[in-house]
C-alpha cells in the first residue's frame, strides 16, 4: 500500500456492513473509492454476530463474502487500522488527513499464519469476544479478519521478540511508526456505526458488577460457532444456564439515561437470541420482560409469533432492579404492569437488551452537526434521507441512528446513489447517450 497522496472519488469512513456496501456500490459504478477503517479488520459489529434475523442466516455467511469482495474490488482501496485526524474542504472536495497506526507487522509480508500468536506468551482479553474470550498480544484479530494480517498491541507487549523469531515471513517489524498520510476525495460517506449503551449505564441493573448480567453482544458470541466457550455458558462460573431472561429497553427509551429514543433492533435481536438459545439448550426457559414489542420490519411480526409458539415467555413488565443471590444467580425485581403487582424472579443469566449509541469520538474529526440523539443530523430526512448538513458528506447505517442490517444495507446503497450523483454533477459528467 502506498501512502502517497491519493485522489479518489469517494472516501468511506467505517468498514461495517454499511460502509462496505456503500463502497461496493460506488466501486461497481466505476468510481475510485477509499475505505478507511480504524480497527485492524473490516466487518464492524456484524461480523461478531451469530445468526441474523429475520432469515437466521449464519452471519459470517453474509458478511465474509462482502469483506472479501471489498478486498478484491479493483476500484476500492482498503485502509485498515487508520484513524481520521482531520477533514478540510479543499479543491471542491475534501482533504482528509489520516494516520496509519503501527501494526508492528509488515502487512505486505504477513501471511496470516498465526505462528506469532501461538508463540506470544501474553494472553489478553479480546474485544471481539467482548472481553470474555482471549487472544495474544500479537494476533490475527479473528479467524475471518480482512486483511489476514497480524497486529501487535504495544500496550501489552514485553518486547521479548518471540514472535519475530517464529515468523517465517520476517513480517514482524518493531520499527513501525504512526504514518500520517492524506487522501483527497470529492465526497465522503460516513459509516462509523454504533456502540452499545454501556453495560453499567443503569446502576439498578447491576451490569458490569454482576457477572451473570451480560450485554447482548456477549450472547451473540456465545451463540456463534467461534465463540469463547464454544457453547452457551454464563461467564460468572461456566454454568450452562437453564433459565435466561432478557430485559428490554435497557438503555433506550429511558429519559433518566438521556437516551430517549428506541433502539429499533433490541426487540428483534432478543427474540432471535431466544430462538437460537432454544435450539442450543432445548431445556432452557427463556423470559423476555418488555413494555412494547417492536417487530415492525418485513417478516418480523411473523418471527415474533414463531417465538411465542416455540414457548418463549413474554412478560409485560418494568424491571426495577437486579440483585444477585448467594449462587451468583441474578434476581430480577419486576413490576407486572398488566397485573399491578411486583415480583422477584431468579434466573441463571440475564441479558440486558442494550440500545445503540454513537461511537464515542467518531465524529471529532468530521465535526458534523448532531441531532438531539447525538447521532449525525439529517437536516431533511423526508427529502434527502442520507445527506448531512455538509454538502458532499453523506451518512449511512447505524451512524445515522439505530437500525438493523437490512436498513443499513438499503441506506448504504442510498448514500452511494447520493454520493455518485454528487460526484458526477461535480465533474459535470452526467452524459446522456
Amino acid at each position: 500500500m502506498s501512502l502517497d497522496n491519493l485522489h479518489v472519488d469517494a472516501l468511506v469512513v467505517g468498514g461495517g456492513i454499511a460502509g462496505m456496501q456503500s463502497a461496493l456500490d460506488l466501486g461497481d459504478q466505476g468510481f475510485q473509492v477509499a475505505l478507511v477503517e480504524c480497527e485492524p479488520s473490516i466487518g464492524g459489529k456484524m461480523i461478531t454476530l451469530s445468526k441474523v434475523f429475520p432469515t437466521l442466516d449464519c452471519c459470517s455467511c453474509i458478511t465474509t463474502p462482502k469483506m472479501s469482495a471489498v478486498a478484491h474490488h479493483p476500484n476500492i482501496k482498503l485502509f485498515t487500522y487508520c484513524d481520521v485526524q482531520s477533514v478540510q474542504e479543499a479543491d471542491g472536495g475534501y482533504r482528509v488527513n489520516l494516520v496509519q497506526k503501527p501494526r508492528y507487522v509488515d502487512a505486505s509480508k504477513c501471511t496470516g499464519c498465526r505462528e506469532c500468536e501461538y508463540a506470544c506468551p501474553i494472553t489478553v482479553p479480546s474485544p471481539f469476544d467482548r472481553g470474555l474470550g482471549a487472544y495474544r498480544t500479537i494476533r490475527v484479530p479473528f479467524s475471518t479478519a480482512v486483511p489476514q494480517v497480524a497486529v501487535l498491541d504495544m500496550d501489552y507487549c514485553i518486547l521479548c521478540g518471540k514472535c519475530e523469531k517464529v515468523c517465517a515471513a520476517k513480517a514482524v517489524d518493531f520499527n513501525q511508526q504512526p504514518e500520517p498520510f492524506e487522501i483527497q476525495a470529492s465526497t465522503l460517506v460516513v459509516a462509523s456505526g454504533f456502540e452499545l449503551t454501556p453495560l453499567g449505564a443503569k446502576k439498578e441493573y447491576g451490569g458490569g458488577k454482576l457477572r451473570n448480567v451480560i450485554d447482548p453482544l456477549m450472547m451473540e458470541r456465545f451463540l456463534a460457532p467461534t465463540g469463547p466457550y464454544g457453547r452457551v455458558l454464563r461467564p460468572g462460573d461456566g454454568k450452562e444456564p437453564t433459565s435466561i431472561a432478557y430485559v428490554q429497553c435497557a438503555g433506550s427509551r429511558d429519559t433518566t439515561l438521556g437516551i430517549e429514543y428506541c433502539s429499533r433492533v433490541c426487540c428483534m435481536y432478543a427474540i432471535k437470541q431466544a430462538m437460537l438459545i432454544s435450539g442450543a439448550l432445548p431445556l432452557a426457559e427463556i423470559t423476555i420482560y418488555y413494555m412494547d414489542i417492536r417487530t415492525f420490519g418485513k417478516g418480523y411480526e411473523q418471527f415474533y409469533q414463531n417465538a411465542q409458539a416455540m414457548g418463549v415467555e413474554f412478560i409485560r413488565g418494568k424491571v426495577a432492579s437486579i440483585r444477585e443471590d448467594d449462587d451468583q444467580n441474578p434476581v430480577v425485581k419486576v413490576e407486572l404492569t398488566e397485573e399491578g403487582r411486583t415480583i422477584e424472579r431468579t434466573h441463571d443469566l440475564v441479558v440486558l437488551s442494550l440500545g445503540m449509541v454513537p461511537v464515542p469520538g467518531s465524529n471529532t474529526a468530521l465535526n458534523l452537526p448532531l441531532g438531539s440523539d447525538k447521532f449525525i443530523a439529517i437536516p431533511a430526512p423526508n427529502a434527502s434521507p442520507c445527506a448531512t448538513a455538509h454538502p458532499g458528506i453523506f451518512v449511512t447505517g447505524a451512524a445515522m441512528g439505530p437500525m438493523d442490517i437490512v436498513d443499513s444495507i438499503v441506506t448504504a446503497s442510498s448514500a452511494a446513489a447520493a454520493a455518485s450523483a454528487y460526484i458526477r454533477e461535480h465533474k459535470k459528467e452526467a452524459v446522456y447517450a
Partner: protein
Amino acid sequence: MPENTPNPESPAPVEPEEIRVGVYTCHCGGNISHVVQCERVAKMVGKLANVAVSRTDPSFCSDAGQAIIEQDIKELGINRVVIGACAPSLHEQTFRGAVTRAGLNPYLYHHVGLREQDSWVHASDEEGATEKAMRLMAAGVAKARLLDPLDPIRLGAEKQALVIGGGVAGLRAALDIARQGIRVTLVEKSPFLGGRMAQLESIFPTDEKPRQLLHDLIQAVTAQVGITIFTQAEVTGVSGYVGNFSIQVTQHARGVSPEMAEALTAACTQETPDPFNYSLTRRKVIYQPYPGCYPAAPAVDWQHYDGQPIQVNGKSIVLQDDALVHELIAGAIVLATGFDPYEPRQGEYGYGELSQVITLPQLIRHMALVKNGETLTWNGHPVRSAAIIHCVGSRELDGVHEPQADGQVNNYCSRVCCTASLHTALEMRQRFPRLNIYELYQDIRAYGRGHEEIYRHTQNAAVRFVRYHGDDGPKVIAAPKGDPYPVLVQVKDYLTYGEEIEIPVDLVVLAVGMMPRQVDDLVNMLKISRGADRFLLEAHPKLRPVEMAVRGIILAGTAQGPMNIQESLAAASAAAAKAASLLSLGKVELPPFVARVDPAKCNGNGACVTACLEEGAIALQTFVENGVEVQRAVVTPANCTGCGACVGACPNRAIDVQAWTLAQYDAMVDAIAMDWPELVEVEK
C-alpha cells in the same frame, strides 16, 4: 516452436487434460457441521477417482477460505472445483469469483447445497445426513468430471430505465437514476404525480407539509435532463430481458385541451366520489385533485365519465379518450407502485355499518376539510370523544381474525400506523383542545428517529392509552337509544390490569394498515414473485434487498412492504444505485445456462419449438447439409431461460442445457445410487 504446424483443416486433437478435482466441504459456520460430519465426508470423497484434494473449512466463503481454493488451483493444478456449502443462490457468485481469480474458467465449478438439502432438513439424523452428504458430494464430483468451460452471454445494455409509479418513491428513483446519466421514463397510472403522500397534511417526524415537499421533488424531476414522464399511463406489454426490455406503454388522453379546460370543468356536472378524500366528498369527472398538483392541467376520470356530452358555449362536447401507445426500451425496470390503505370488511369494528366508524386516512382528509378554529364535527354533530384503534388489518392472528379474500390473514405490522396515529392525535389535541382522545393499541411501535418523542408528547397531551391483546380485541357497538354518545367501544384494558371498560365515543378511527396496490398484470408480465404478505418480494433481504430475483427488476418504496416516507426515499435511492451499477457500463452478462442443440443429432422435427415456453428462444432454421436443405433447431441464448422444457421434448437427446447436460445428470444419478457400503463403513 512446434515442429510441424497443424493442418488448419483438421485441428490437432486436443490433448485430453487430466481431470483434477478439488473438493471443499464447508462447515458453513456450524450450519452444516453441527449435523454433518464434514471431516468424514471430505475423507470419503477424497478417495474418489480424479479427486486431487479434499478439504474442509469453517467457512470457505470467507477471504481466507477462498484463498485456500485459489491456492489449490494454482499450486495443485486443480481444474474442476466442487464446493459443498450453503445454497448456490447465496454464494455461487462468490466462488465463481474466486475460481476466476485463480485463472480457471468459472463454470468448471459445481456447487452442492449441503445446507438446504441436507443439514437443515435432517437435523435430527446425523448419521443419515452424513451419508447423504457423501452421496451428494460424490454426485457433484461425477458431474464435475464432465464440466466444460463456458462463457457468459454478453449483451449490450440500454442506458435507459423505466420507473413504474410516480409516488414519492418513483419520483426519487427517477431523479437519482437520471442524475447518473441514465435516461428514465416514468410511468404513472393516475393523471397526477405524487401518490399517497399528497393526501397527507403534515408528516411525522418533521411536521413538514407533504405537498410542498412533493412540489420541490417534482420540480427537481422536471428540471432534470433525461426524464420523460407519462401520466395516465400503464405498462401493457413487456418482453426481453435485463439490459434489453421492450416495453409497451398505453397512455390515456388527458381529455381536455388547455384552452378548453377551464370552461369544460366549469360546465361539467357529472360527479363521483373523490378518491383523494377517500370518498368523503364528491368531485367532478374533470378534475384536479388539489391546487398545485402536477401536471396542473385538469384531467378526465375515464373510469367514471359516463360519456354524456357537456354543454359549453352552446356546443355539445363528448370527451374522447384517444389513447396513445408508446414503445420503449429499457435496461432496467423499477417498480414503485406503492400501497393502498387496508379497506376494512363490512362490519369489522362496525365499519360500513355504523356511520361513526372511519379510517385514519379518512380522518386525515376530514380534518383537512375542517377550517382552522372550527370544531371537529362528524355527520353534523360535534365530536366530543374519539377512539383510534390500532392494527386494523395488520398483525392479524390465524384462528382469531377472519381471513382476507385470499384466505390469508395479514400477519405483518404496517409500521407507519402507530406513529401516524400518535401524530394525528397530537394534531387533534392542538386543534380541538377539549376533545377526549383514546388510543387503543397492542404495542406502540414508535421506532424511528424522532418517533419516540412524538409518543412522549402524546402521553403528555392528555391522550388516554388503552392496551388490548391481539386475541381479545376491542368491540365497537351502537350505544343503546338515549345514551349521550352514539357508539360504545368495549375493551379489556391491560393498562388497568385487564379491566373491562366501555368507552363512549362520537367517532371511531381505524388505524388501517398497508396493502400492496393491485399489480397482478405487472406480476404476470414480468414473471416476478410476491411474498406471503403479497408485497413484491426482494431476492434476499440482506444480500439484494431492493432487487427482485428476475434480473434487472428493482423495487422502490411501499410496493415492497410498509415504509414511511424517509424509508421509501432511501429505498428509492438504493434502487437507483442498483440500476446505475447495472447499466452504467453499457453491458450486462447473463449466465450461460441455456439450451444448446447438437446439430448432428437434431433431425428438425421441431418438438422443442412446440415445448418451449419463451418467446423467440428456439426456432427451426434451414441449413444446407451435403447439398440438401434440412431443418435444425437453433437457440437464441438471450431469450432462453434454461428451463429445459425442450430437452425433455426432444426424442433424439439432441438438446442439452449447458452445465446441466443429460450426460452430467446420468453421472450424478449413478453416483447417488451407487452401492458403496465399503466406503461408508471404512469411514466409521
